[in-house]
C-alpha cells in the first residue's frame, strides 16, 4: 500500500501542479518539490523495516514490502508491487533526481510551467512504477506509460530539432516494448500450458521449464527492449538526439533514471527469467557492452555540441553496466549497480551544467565557448569535479562502479576486459578536452555572465556529496543490494547449474 501511496502522491502532485498554473506561475514547481518530498518521506520507513521472506521459485528472497490485489482475474493479472534493496535504491535515486530535475527547470521553463511539471511528475511516477512492479503486465504498463509524458517534455519544451528527437525516442522504445509484450504473453502462455494456471506474477513465472529454443526467443524480446533503453550499441541511436534536444530537466531524467530502467530490467527480469538463454547470449552481450564503451567514447570525443558529448559519454558508461550484468558474478553486479547510481548523479549534473551554459550563452556549441572559468569560477570548479568523476577518478562513485565491473569481468573474459579498460583512458581524453574547450583558454572580452546562483550550487553540492560518499564509503549501497543480487544470482545459477559458484567473499 505504501508503494501505491508513493506513486499516487506523484501522480496527484503532477495534476495539482497543472491546476496550480492558473493561480501562479511559480506554484507548480513548489507543488512538485513538495510531492516528491512527501513521496520520499513515505519511503523512509522502508530503509529501517525488516525484510519479509518471499519464496522466489523455491529460493527464499527478502522483500521490504509486497502488496497485491486482484485486477483482471480473466488473465490472472494482479496489482502486485514489491520493493527490495535494489528497487529501493533505484526509487531513492529516482526521487533524488526528480528534485534535481525540478530545480534545473526552475528558471529555464517559462512556457506553461504547470503542464511541464505535470509531465515531469508523471514520468517520475511511471519510473517508480517500473522499479516496483512485480506483475509482468503491470510492469509493461508502467514501462509504456512513462514514455508519454517524456515524449511531451521533449516535443513541447525541447530545442530546435525536438519533433524529430521525440518521435525517434518514442518509436524506438515503443516498438521494442511490443517485442517484450509478445515475450511476456508467450511466457505466460507457456506457463499456462504447463500448469493450467494463467498468471503474470513474477514469482510464479520464475524458474518454469521452457524448452531451450523457445526460451532463447522469449529472452530476446526482453533483451532487445531493455538494451534499447539502456542503450546498448547498436540500439543507441535514439539517445544522442533525445538527450540533446530535450530540455535540461528531461535530459536529467532521461540520463539519470530512464536509462537505468533498462539495466534494472536486465538484472531483474531477463537473466533470472531465462538463465539458460542468458548464458547463451552472454558473450555476445558483453561484446556489445565493450563496443558501446569504445564507440561511445570515440563519438563523444568527436562532438562539438556539449550535450551531445555528454550523451555519447552515457552510451560509453552504460556499456560498463551491460558488460557487468552479463559477466554475471557478484563483483560485476555490484559494479553495475554502483555504476547505475554514480552515472545517474554525475550525468545529471553534467546535463544541468549544459543547461546552465545554454541558458547563459544560448548555444551548446563548444567552439563558441572557452575561458568560461574566468567568467564563472564556481561553475568551472563544479564542472571540473563532475568531468573528473565521469572519467573515473578514484575516490568517486563512478570509479568504484567501473573498477568492480572490470575486476569481475576479468575472471570471465580477459580479452574483453582489457579492451573495456581502454574506455577509462578514452573517457579521460574526451572529458578533459571538453573541459579545456569550455572553461579554459582565453575568455572572450566584454562578456557579462552570471555565475551559478545559490539554488544551482546547492543542488550541485548535493550531488557532489553523493558521489564522494559513494566513492569513499560504498558499503551501505552494497549492504542494501547484496542480498538481492545474491538471491538473483543464486537462483539463476541454481536453475541451470552452469554458472560459476557464488563466491560470497564480499569485496
Amino acid at each position: 500500500m505504501l508503494l501505491w501511496a508513493t506513486i499516487l502522491v506523484l501522480l496527484a502532485g503532477g495534476a495539482i501542479a497543472w491546476l496550480a498554473e492558473a493561480w501562479n506561475k511559480d506554484l507548480p514547481r513548489w507543488v512538485s518539490v513538495g510531492s516528491i518530498v512527501i513521496a520520499g518521506l513515505l519511503m523512509v520507513p522502508l530503509f529501517v523495516s525488516t525484510p519479509q521472506t518471499v519464496l522466489l521459485a523455491d529460493t527464499e528472497s527478502e522483500w521490504l514490502a509486497v502488496s497485491s490485489s486482484t485486477w483482471i482475474p480473466r488473465f490472472g493479472i494482479t496489482l502486485l508491487v514489491g520493493i527490495d534493496g535494489l528497487s529501493l535504491l533505484m526509487v531513492a535515486l529516482t526521487l533524488l533526481l526528480g528534485v534535481v530535475a525540478v530545480a534545473s527547470s526552475w528558471s529555464e521553463i517559462d512556457y506553461r510551467p504547470g503542464f511541464f511539471q505535470f509531465n515531469l511528475m508523471w514520468t517520475l511516477a511511471g519510473v517508480v512504477g517500473v522499479f516496483v512492479a512485480l506483475d509482468l503486465f503491470l510492469f509493461f504498463l508502467f514501462w509504456e506509460v512513462m514514455l508519454i509524458p517524456m515524449y511531451f517534455l521533449i516535443a513541447i519544451w525541447g530545442h530546435e530539432e525536438r519533433g524529430y528527437a521525440a518521435m525517434k525516442f518514442f518509436l524506438f522504445t515503443q516498438v521494442s516494448g511490443l517485442l517484450m509484450l509478445v515475450s511476456i504473453v508467450a511466457l505466460v502462455l507457456v506457463h499456462h500450458s504447463n500448469s493450467g494456471v494463467l498468471t503474470f506474477n513474477y514469482f510464479d513465472l520464475l524458474g518454469i521449464p521452457i524448452s531451450e529454443g523457445v526460451a532463447f526467443y522469449l529472452m530476446l524480446g526482453f533483451f532487445i527492449a531493455f538494451v534499447v533503453k539502456l542503450p546498448g550499441f547498436p540500439f543507441h541511436t535514439w539517445l544522442p538526439d533525445a538527450h540533446t534536444q530535450a530540455p535540461t530537466a528531461a535530459s536529467v531524467l532521461l540520463a539519470g533514471i530512464l536509462l537505468k530502467t533498462g539495466a534494472y530490467g536486465l538484472i531483474r527480469f531477463t537473466v533470472p527469467l531465462f538463465p539458460g538463454a542468458a548464458i547463451e547470449i552472454a558473450q555476445f552481450a558483453m561484446v556489445l557492452g565493450v563496443v558501446g564503451i569504445i564507440y561511445g567514447a570515440i563519438l563523444a570525443f568527436a562532438q562539438t555540441d556539449f550535450k551531445r558529448l555528454v550523451a555519447y559519454s552515457s552510451v560509453s558508461h552504460m556499456g560498463f553496466v551491460l558488460l557487468g550484468v552479463y559477466a554475471w558474478n557478484e563483483l560485476t553486479l555490484q559494479g553495475s549497480v554502483m555504476q547505475m547510481v554514480a552515472h545517474g548523479l554525475s550525468t545529471a549534473a553534467l546535463f544541468m551544467l549544459a543547461g546552465a551554459l545554454q541558458h547563459r550563452l544560448h548555444t551548446r556549441d563548444m567552439s563558441k565557448m572557452g575561458g568560461l572559468w574566468q567568467d564563472m569560477p564556481r561553475m568551472g570548479a563544479i564542472a571540473m569535479f563532475f568531468f573528473v568523476a565521469s572519467l573515473g577518478m578514484p575516490g568517486l562513485g563512478n570509479f568504484v562502479g567501473e573498477f568492480l565491473v572490470l575486476l569481475g569481468a576479468f575472471k570471465v573474459n580477459i580479452v574483453i576486459t582489457v579492451i573495456a579498460s581502454i574506455g577509462l583512458i578514452s573517457a579521460a581524453i574526451y572529458a578533459l578536452i571538453a573541459m579545456q574547450k569550455v572553461f579554459q583558454g582565453a575568455p572572450t572580452a566584454g562578456r557579462a555572465l552570471n555565475d551559478l546562483d545559490t539554488r544551482e550550487v546547492l543542488v550541485m553540492v548535493l550531488m557532489m556529496l553523493g558521489l564522494v560518499g559513494l566513492g569513499m564509503y560504498p558499503q551501505p549501497v552494497f549492504d542494501l543490494v547484496d542480498p538481492v543480487l545474491a538471491s538473483l544470482y543464486e537462483f539463476s545459477g541454481a536453475a541451470e547449474g552452469t554458472q560459476g559458484a557464488w563466491t560470497g567473499d564480499g569485496q
Partner: protein, 486 residues
C-alpha cells in the same frame, strides 16, 4: 409467431416504432429539436428493452433471427454508437439549413439494419439487414448536399457498395446451389467435408470467396479498401463516425456469428486467404496513412489497418480451435475500436463549425490545439493514443487481446506484421499529437466548442480510460455473451 417470440423482438419493434413516430412528427410539424429528442428517447428506450429481453434467454425467432446475448450485446453497442452519433449530429446539423430532420430517420433505419444483422442466422436476414443499413447510408453520406465532395463520396459508395452486394448475392446463390440451404446452422454440416464431386467443392469455395469479398468491401479490408478515404473525407464528420463504427461493427458481428455457427474455421483455404488480407490491410493501411495531411484520411487508413488487426483475432480462432478466445478477443477489440473511433470523429465533428467551407479535417486546423481548445485536444490525444495502443486506454486492452490470441495460436507472421504496423502507426498518430502541442501559428477562425458534442467526447474519454484501467466488467460481459452462441 408466439408472444414469447414477439417479446424478444422488442428492441427491433421499439426501434421501428420510433422511426414511424419520427416520420409522423416530421410530416405534421417540422422541428429539428423535436426530431432529435424523439430519436434520442427512442434509442434510449430500445436500449432499456435489452436487459429485459436478455433475461428471457436465447430464442430463435423464425429461421431468420436468433435473439441471444451475442446479438443483443452488439445491438447495444450499435445503439450506443448511434446515440453518440445523433448527439454529434445535433450540433453539426443544427445551423446548417432547414431540412435536417430526415437525417435522424435515416440514422435510425440504419441502426435497425445493424441490429437485424447482429441477430441474423440466415442469409435472408443477412441481406435484409445489410441493405437496410446500406441504403440509408447512401443518403446519409451525401446529406448536407453542400459541396461536391460529399456527393462524390456518396456516389462512390453507392456504386461500389452495390457491386459488393451483388457479389454477396451471387455468392449466396452459389452456396445455395450446392448446399440447398441458406440457414447458418444447416450449413455447418458441410464444413470440412469434401463435396463428393470435386467440381461442386470448387463451386462452394467460389461461393464463399465471393461472399467474403463482398463482406471485406464493407469492412474496408485490402484489396477492397479503395472507397474508404474518399468516403470518410467527403461525408459529414458524424456520418463518418457512423460509417467507421456501426456499419463495420454490425457486419463484423454477423461475420463472427457466421464463422462460429457454420464451423467456417475448418476451411483452411479460407483462413489462409484471410491471413493474407489481414497482412495486406495492416501494411497498406498504415503505410498509406503516413502520406496524408488530412486527419479524416489518416483515420480512414488507420481504420483499414485496425480492421486488419481485428482479422488477426478472428483468424486466431482457426488455428488451435480456440474459437472462444477468438470471439472474445475480437469483441473486446471491436468495443475499443468503437469508443476510440467515435471519440476521434467526435472531435473532428466538434471542430467543424458551420461557417467553415468544409469539415475541419486538414492537419493545419489542429496546430496548437492544446493551447487553444485544451479539452478537445486532450480528448483527441487520448483517442489517438488509444488507437496507437498505449496502456491506460481501452485501445491497449484491445491490442493486448490481439497479442494473447495471436501468440496462443502461434501465428508469428501475423504478430510480426502487427508489431511493424503498430510501429508505423505510432508515427502518424504522434504527428497529429505533435501538431496539436506545437505552438499555435497565426490561426484561424476558431469557433466555440459545441456543448453537446463536448459532453459526448468527454464521456467517451472517461469510458476509454475507465475500461483501459479496469477492463474486468467488459471482459465479464463478453465472456457471458460468448456462452450464448451455438
Amino acid at each position: 409467431m408466439s408472444a414469447a417470440e414477439l417479446y424478444v423482438l422488442l428492441p427491433v419493434i421499439v426501434l421501428s416504432g420510433t422511426i414511424c413516430v419520427l416520420l409522423l412528427a416530421i410530416a405534421f410539424a417540422r422541428n429539428f429539436n423535436v426530431s432529435v429528442v424523439i430519436s434520442v428517447l427512442g434509442l434510449l428506450t430500445t436500449l432499456a428493452t435489452i436487459p429485459l429481453v436478455l433475461a428471457a434467454g436465447p430464442t430463435q425467432v423464425t429461421p431468420l433471427i436468433r435473439v441471444d446475448a451475442f446479438g443483443l450485446m452488439f445491438t447495444g453497442l450499435i445503439l450506443l454508437a448511434c446515440l453518440a452519433v445523433s448527439l454529434l449530429a445535433f450540433d453539426y446539423f443544427r445551423n446548417r439549413g432547414e431540412l435536417q430532420d430526415e437525417f435522424f430517420v435515416l440514422l435510425l433505419s440504419s441502426a435497425l439494419g445493424g441490429a437485424i444483422l447482429t441477430m441474423s442466422t440466415h442469409f435472408a436476414a443477412f441481406i435484409l439487414g445489410l441493405e437496410l443499413l446500406g441504403v440509408s447510408l447512401y443518403a446519409m453520406i451525401s446529406y448536407p448536399a453542400k459541396g461536391l465532395s460529399s456527393l462524390e463520396a456518396a456516389l462512390k459508395y453507392l456504386i461500389l457498395s452495390g457491386v459488393s452486394s451483388a457479389f454477396i448475392l451471387f455468392g449466396i446463390a452459389l452456396v445455395f446451389a450446392i448446399t440447398g440451404t441458406m440457414d447458418f446452422a444447416t450449413l455447418k454440416n458441410f464444413a470440412g467435408v469434401e463435396a463428393p464431386d470435386q467440381g461442386y467443392g470448387l463451386m462452394l469455395m467460389a461461393g464463399f470467396a465471393m461472399l467474403l469479398a463482398g463482406v471485406m468491401f464493407k469492412l474496408s479490408l485490402v484489396p477492397f479498401h479503395m472507397w474508404t478515404p474518399d468516403v470518410y473525407e467527403g461525408a459529414p464528420a458524424p456520418v463518418t463516425a457512423f460509417v467507421a463504427t456501426v456499419s463495420k461493427g454490425a457486419i463484423f458481428a454477423v461475420l463472427l456469428r457466421f464463422m462460429w455457427t457454420t464451423r467456417f474455421y475448418e476451411y483452411e483455404a479460407v483462413l489462409a486467404g484471410l491471413s493474407m488480407v489481414a497482412i495486406a490491410s495492416m501494411l497498406v493501411g498504415n503505410l498509406l496513412a503516413l502520406l496524408q495531411d488530412n486527419v479524416k484520411r489518416v483515420l480512414a487508413y488507420s481504420s483499414i489497418a485496425h480492421l486488419g488487426y481485428l482479422l488477426v483475432a478472428l483468424i486466431a480462432g482457426g488455428v488451435t480451435g480456440g474459437k472462444e478466445l477468438a470471439v472474445e478477443a475480437s469483441s473486446v477489440f471491436l468495443v475499443a475500436y468503437f469508443i476510440t473511433t467515435l471519440g476521434a470523429f467526435g472531435v473532428v465533428s466538434a471542430m467543424s463549425h458551420d461557417e467553415l467551407e468544409r469539415d475541419a479535417d486538414m492537419l493545419v486546423a489542429y496546430q496548437g490545439l492544446v493551447w487553444r481548445r485544451p479539452l478537445l485536444a486532450l480528448v483527441f490525444s487520448a483517442m489517438l493514443l488509444s488507437l496507437a495502443g498505449i496502456p491506460l486506454t481501452v485501445g491497449f486492452i484491445g491490442k493486448f487481446y490481439l497479442f494473447i490470441a495471436g501468440v496462443d495460436s502461434q501465428m508469428w507472421v501475423l504478430i510480426a506484421t502487427l508489431i511493424v504496423g503498430s510501429g508505423i502507426g505510432l508515427y502518424y498518430y504522434l504527428r497529429i499529437i505533435f501538431t496539436m502541442i506545437s505552438r499555435p501559428g497565426d490561426v484561424v477562425t476558431d469557433g466555440v466548442s459545441p456543448l453537446t458534442s463536448s459532453w459526448v467526447v468527454v464521456t467517451l474519454t472517461v469510458v476509454l480510460v475507465w475500461l483501459g484501467v479496469y477492463p474486468t466488467p467488459l471482459i465479464a460481459l463478453i465472456t457471458e455473451m460468448i456462452d450464448s452462441l451455438v
